[in-house]
Symmetry: C2
């Protein structure tokens, strides 16, 4: 009788592929397997003790408020803190520019809900964040991909790609997931210039901006656009997304959107029909943990830990991976990206790798068009250095065996 | 420049009207105003102390897990607890039948995302839950309304209403929001019989089922359908929704869906693109608070408190409301519903009422077609008994003045 429930539309090929990969990756949660597949922060750096103190304080002092319904926009002190923090990076906004979301993933969903019509073209990077493809597939978006190189989005292909008519450009300028690359300052300026000339808005997704392990911070697109618009104040052309997931805790699902008050209002109305508001309690506890300078100190600790893991992984890749494989050298974030010669299929390699108790994500999952299966994403934040060493050795052996056989 | 961001489609009339009312209702949060407008639980009954102990225990024993990403389906012990609880009420399911959602509101959104095509007809009650209209408006649902009386949905109009072709029936059988009425056992059986004959599935929304203050519990539609299907096991024709919002805390945003594993899988995939998962921390803490029989005891306490408030409000309505006004006599839940003679417009009355420092929700907000403005929803859970007495007197005066003028 369950056939009474019939789907809205057939699941799209991309989602199907994603769900096959998800099934494969379920195998990688086995404790024997060294997994570079997830995008998980290292649990060792979670400020568990600070959370405990904060929960106790929030419940003692504001227990009835913390457990009650609250506004869709989000906890005001938290939005004020985010506004102050953003101003340090050249995005000059107030709490009226900020909507708290249930993780950054919800921001992507709400943007789709409010802005994407069936068949709208979105300009994306290739590869791009899998979660964005999942969120926007629901609203039947079409994708116009622009490739990445070591300096990020290949801006010289942008004008041509925009010719098809584009709803917005989706960019991950810092320590790209999955590619690990960072958009250079020169390209950032060029991107802003072209988007402005063509009148196309930008969604800037920046979950990892704070997690830089070498080199200097680069200004966000939202700041550069505001500067270029000559007002200094926030221009509104770039919707900026970020999250507490990588700097505090992903389990509490707290992200935020920065946009003009009028866009925030539309997103707020959409959020009201989606989940009313994000957990009052989690928002108040996160504010309590983060405030008073703790977050800045805590981020230093995360940078040291992940910076070391990145260096270990890069060293091991050099020592263990066959010569014909290339990989990116991130300056921050959680991921790097390895590319094999064209005939190789990382879906097949993953099956062998799981047998050898090591895992990664096959690269095609991050492409909108079924290409990219000769690449793989490797996470370096989750596994401790000794496991990274052992895991990359195992993976090196698998790849060595395969490239030798192929030769 | 913000015009670069153009909406997906014009906001629908209903949403616009809802947002005007929302603006009006913002005025009612002023501390001077006695508000029967919200749908808020009484904060006095929140188990603040138990939450504090649970947070401490969860963070001490499982801190790294509680702050980490988790599965989209939800925390397994919590799903197992919900399955056991549901079996007590004749819905025999396991954790594979349960998806944890970010409040019941998210369940409504996910159902829309997975099942509703542009222009699909949904059979709803008139009035119905405002949040469902908001959630499904996004997916461009059309509504076929069936009126309510003191025994709930007028089942004798159901077959005719289904003639237009219906995606699903949306029913709130227990202590209806906003109407306060309960679907009788006879009508429940009739509803199941007709839905089965016509092959139309049902979404059963049951946020208040546990909050009965008099009379005997009636079996949920999901249980009756399973019984009628002759298997005893859960039949799958009725998707059942509930929430911890009214029995534990709405601030933590925890609801659940019961459906067949195949429907749960579709909803899970949709949830993955929507917010990845519901707060791991809130799920683990809620489980810790609820387990070991605490929830049952706590519900007794809520029933006593709200039962008293309901009786006080009914007494005051009899003593203070003009004769030409009628109201429902709920046996549970949070709301009752008052109906004025046709020419009265409760939007206008609300303006006067706010001047007299008392508030309610004008009834038209709960209709899909712009009707119902001669009615109002009154919440009796939030205000303490003495405030209910004072507030209903104020509102009685406002109405007395208006009905006298009209006469």
């Amino acid at each position: 009788m369950e056939t009474r429930w019939s789907n809205r539309y057939a699941q799209r090929t991309h989602t199907m592929e994603a769900s096959i990969i998800r099934e494969l990756l379920k195998l990688t949660t086995h404790p024997d397997i060294i997994s570079f597949a997830g995008g998980l922060p290292a649990p060792d750096v979670f400020p568990v003790h600070e959370f405990e103190e904060a929960c106790s304080k929030v419940l003692k002092e504001h227990g009835k408020q913390a457990l009650q319904y609250s506004t869709t926009e989000g906890h005001l002190p938290l939005r004020e803190m985010i506004a102050r923090h953003s101003s340090r990076y050249g995005i000059h906004v107030g709490p009226e520019n900020i909507l708290i979301t249930s993780g950054s993933q919800q921001a992507l969903d709400l943007i789709g809900k409010v802005f994407i019509n069936n068949g709208d073209n979105l300009l994306i990077e290739h590869p791009t964040y899998l979660g964005a493809l999942q969120a926007w597939g629901t609203y039947q978006a079409e994708y116009v991909p622009v490739p990445l190189d070591e300096d990020g989005m290949c801006i010289d292909q942008l004008t041509e790609a925009l010719r098809a008519g584009t709803k917005f450009i989706y960019a991950l300028p810092n320590f790209h997931n999955p590619a690990g690359v960072t958009l250079s300052l020169e390209r950032r300026k060029k991107l802003i210039e072209i988007a402005s000339r063509e009148g196309v808005p930008i969604v800037e997704d920046d979950p990892y901006g704070q997690l830089r392990y070498e080199g200097d911070h680069l200004p966000p697109l939202a700041a550069l656009d505001s500067e270029a618009s000559g007002k200094g104040a926030y221009s509104g052309n770039v919707i900026y997304l970020s999250t507490f997931s990588k700097i505090l805790s992903p389990g509490i699902r707290l992200g935020w959107v920065i946009a003009t008050p009028s866009v925030i209002q539309k997103l707020t109305l959409a959020k009201q029909g989606t989940d009313l508001h994000t957990s009052t309690f989690d928002q108040m506890v996160a504010y309590e943990v983060a405030k008073g300078g703790f977050l800045d100190k805590h981020i230093q600790k995360i940078r040291r830990a992940y910076g070391e893991r990145l260096r270990v992984m890069l060293d091991e890749l050099s020592a263990n991976f066959p010569d014909e494989i290339e990989w990116t050298k991130p300056k921050g974030g959680l991921f790097l990206w390895a590319t094999l010669p064209k005939p190789f299929d990382t879906r097949e390699i993953l099956k062998t790798a799981i047998g050898e108790k090591v895992a990664f994500v096959p690269g095609g999952a991050f492409y909108s068009d079924g290409s990219g299966w000769n690449s793989m994403r490797l996470n370096f934040s989750y596994c401790a250095p000794d496991l990274i060493i052992e895991g990359i050795r195992r993976l090196g052996n698998v790849l060595e065996g395969m490239t030798t056989r192929a030769a």
